[in-house]
């Protein structure tokens, strides 16, 4: 059986042979000077198989949710694999400090594909290079991106019942000179921070960091902000009094009409917004709110510049 993303998921024993052969042939092609070093070929091939297993594709059957890899055409999936092999082979060549020459060398292997410079591939995106190209760049984006910054503040709010941890964070922000967060802490937690004894701050700081890490990497916080954002975007005025409505079904879809949130995710987010006093929703399929509430919801996800 010929391999495809679908077959790798459901019929791995039937297509593993052809899959391995393909990977080995392409690995040898891209490894060039190292093509006869079986260890190097194995390195490349193993890496691809490992990656596809980790992605929940190989042998996963129905136990893992499908990924977009399975929506690629067979030709696109081959191109995906080919590029992955090539990148790993280049990585091996670099590690061996062998010269990596562009397409001309590759052609000498009698292949007709990949004649152009591999680095000339162009896909129009908002970024000219991969977004978040390094962890440092990703961190910088999180620090300056409005929505990601809102999420950080939301996670800090979850420490509201732990004044020592709040104090530890406030001290950190002061030391770092991150004025906006210092002011945010003063405004939001003035009462909690009064009369807190600064004992064992290092321990409290560690606890605070752990909670923030879990919160920022958890999936509920961003969904709340996303639902709040959609409430404003999709809102329609329905009465003369200015009452606004949005259906849960609408909230489950992105601006292009593609469903990307489940009914439960939307409802959980709405329940949270109710608990924050931003909505009066009680489980109805249509969410109704006033203009005043709409303004408060908008402030929830917008960066607070009024401080």
């Amino acid at each position: 059986m010929l391999f495809s993303a679908h077959n790798l998921r459901y019929h791995i024993e039937d297509c593993y042979s052809s899959f391995c052969s393909f990977l080995q042939r392409r690995a040898k092609f891209y490894l060039r000077q190292l093509a006869h070093d079986s260890m190097e070929v194995d390195e490349v091939v193993d890496h691809i198989i490992e990656q596809l297993t980790r992605l929940g594709l190989i042998g996963a059957r129905d136990n893992e949710p499908p990924t977009l890899l399975e929506q690629l055409t067979d030709a696109q999936f081959l191109a995906f694999l080919n590029r992955s092999i090539k990148n790993k082979a280049i990585d091996r060549l670099r590690k061996k400090r062998l010269q990596i020459s562009p397409a001309a060398d590759l052609e000498s292997y009698g292949e007709v594909e990949e004649e152009k410079d591999p680095f000339e591939d162009k896909v129009e995106t908002a970024w000219s290079k991969p977004p978040f190209a390094t962890p440092e760049e990703a961190a910088l984006e999180a620090a300056k991106n409005t929505l990601l910054f809102v999420l950080l503040k939301e996670c800090i709010r979850l420490l509201g019942n732990a004044p020592h941890q709040l104090l530890a964070l406030e001290q950190e922000f002061e030391e770092l000179g991150v004025e906006e967060l210092v002011q945010f802490m003063h405004k939001e937690f003035d009462a909690q921070l009064t009369n807190v004894e600064p004992d064992h701050m290092s321990q409290h700081k560690d606890h605070a960091h752990k909670k923030l890490r879990i919160c920022l990497q958890g999936s509920s916080n961003n969904l709340r902000v996303l639902v709040a954002l959609r409430l404003s975007q999709y809102a329609q005025r329905v009465t003369k009094t200015g009452e606004i409505s949005v259906s849960i079904r609408q909230l489950m879809k992105d601006t292009q009409g593609k469903q990307d949130l489940s009914d439960q995710e939307v409802k959980r987010a709405l329940e949270y917004l109710v608990s924050r006093g931003l909505l009066n929703w009680q489980g109805e399929e249509i969410v109704r709110f006033s203009s005043a509430q709409a303004k408060r919801i908008a402030r929830y996800y917008e960066k607070d510049d009024e401080q």
């Binding site: 042979s17 591939d121 950080l152």
Partner: protein, 336 residues
């Protein structure tokens, strides 16, 4: 208030990296310590790793609110080098895949073979290891996040076992499954209540037991039975103690000898760790984790008892491989 300045952003970014860095204690586990240095290296996080193709595609297509939708993943990539490296690789490969003029890549005739028989043993071994590794990662994730990934992990372990049957070389099959018991133990968070007591003896099957001297010694211990064809026996060992599993028609029988004085005259409970993973055996009493011996341990420390019935045949290679794997860990403890 004015916008944060660049200095603020850099300070905050550095702080975020510190906060989000994967804590060192979280990455090392029982399984990691068993892995060879450098082999299949790298800590990764399945819950984030599996999102990478969809995230990359959403970025490439400039989907609305991609940053907000994938915010937890972005925060994770700040602190996890392994997942970040994978993100870069997958982003680049996805980018190549969705170009309008992708070059045609032929799959050659010899790449259309159908059978695992044609796959080099090393590649089959690798696949088994990776499936077990993935199961371990899912179970560790489940433990860490208090989510139940057992069904997914069990499916991967079952698949690894069945794929390993294609490996005819005993030592390579053993190597492919070397982490199986440890990973299966990770799934074993709610053992049978009787297993709360420490096992008196923990046996492991001696795979590939032919007529070697080690197995001959093992069988000499099980002296009460006529010695069958070695292919009809699975030998067990627990330190200096030996045992065996034989088959009579469809019944699997356990034979143990030289059991401790404390166990003599008492019934014992037998636990087959992987018994719940594979289901080719109808276990005596229905629970492979708590099989009560049919008789007490004899005064000379020997015991022969039925374990259950099966359609598998020890004399048939693939069935035998499966049963050998099944008995990779067999514990005994007093029943009372």
């Amino acid at each position: 208030m004015a916008e944060k300045n660049g200095f603020d952003n850099i300070q905050l970014a550095q702080w975020l990296q510190q906060v989000l860095a994967t804590p060192p204690g979280q990455v090392q586990t029982q399984i990691d310590s068993l892995r060879d240095e450098g082999e299949l290296a790298g800590n990764y996080h399945p819950q984030f790793y599996t999102q990478l193709p969809n995230f990359a595609m959403a970025l490439l297509k400039n989907e609305p609110y991609v940053i907000l939708r994938y915010a937890p993943l972005i925060y994770h990539l700040i602190g996890c080098r392994t997942c970040h490296t994978a993100y870069l690789e997958i982003y680049d490969a996805m980018k190549a895949a969705i170009q309008p003029d992708i070059p045609a890549i032929e799959v050659e005739e010899d790449e259309q073979m159908h059978s695992m028989v044609n796959v080099p043993v090393r590649m089959v071994e690798l696949l088994c290891e990776l499936l077990i590794d993935q199961a371990g990662a899912l179970l560790r994730q489940g433990r860490h996040e208090h989510t139940d990934n057992d069904v997914r992990a069990r499916a991967l372990l079952q698949q690894a076992i069945y794929i390993s049957l294609h490996i005819k070389q005993n030592n390579m099959r053993q190597h492919a499954l070397r982490n199986l018991v440890e990973v299966a133990s990770l799934a074993d968070t709610t053992p049978d209540p009787i297993e709360q007591n420490p096992a008196a003896h923990s046996y492991a099957s001696l795979v590939g037991s032919g007529n070697g001297s080690r197995n001959a010694r093992a069988w000499r211990g099980v002296h009460t039975l006529e010695r069958p064809d070695s292919q009809q026996v699975i030998y067990l060992q627990s330190g200096r103690l030996s045992g065996a599993i034989t088959q009579h028609e469809d019944t699997l029988e356990l034979h143990l000898v030289d059991l401790d004085k404390e166990l003599r005259g008492r019934y014992i409970t037998i636990s087959v760790l992987l018994g719940t993973l594979l289901e080719p055996v109808r276990w005596l009493g229905g629970n492979p984790r708590a099989i009560r011996s049919q008789s007490p341990v004899a005064a000379d420390g020997s015991l022969t008892t039925s374990l259950g019935k099966t359609e598998l045949h020890l004399g048939k290679a693939e069935d035998r491989y499966l049963l050998e794997t099944l008995f990779k860990k067999l514990d005994v403890r007093p029943a009372d």
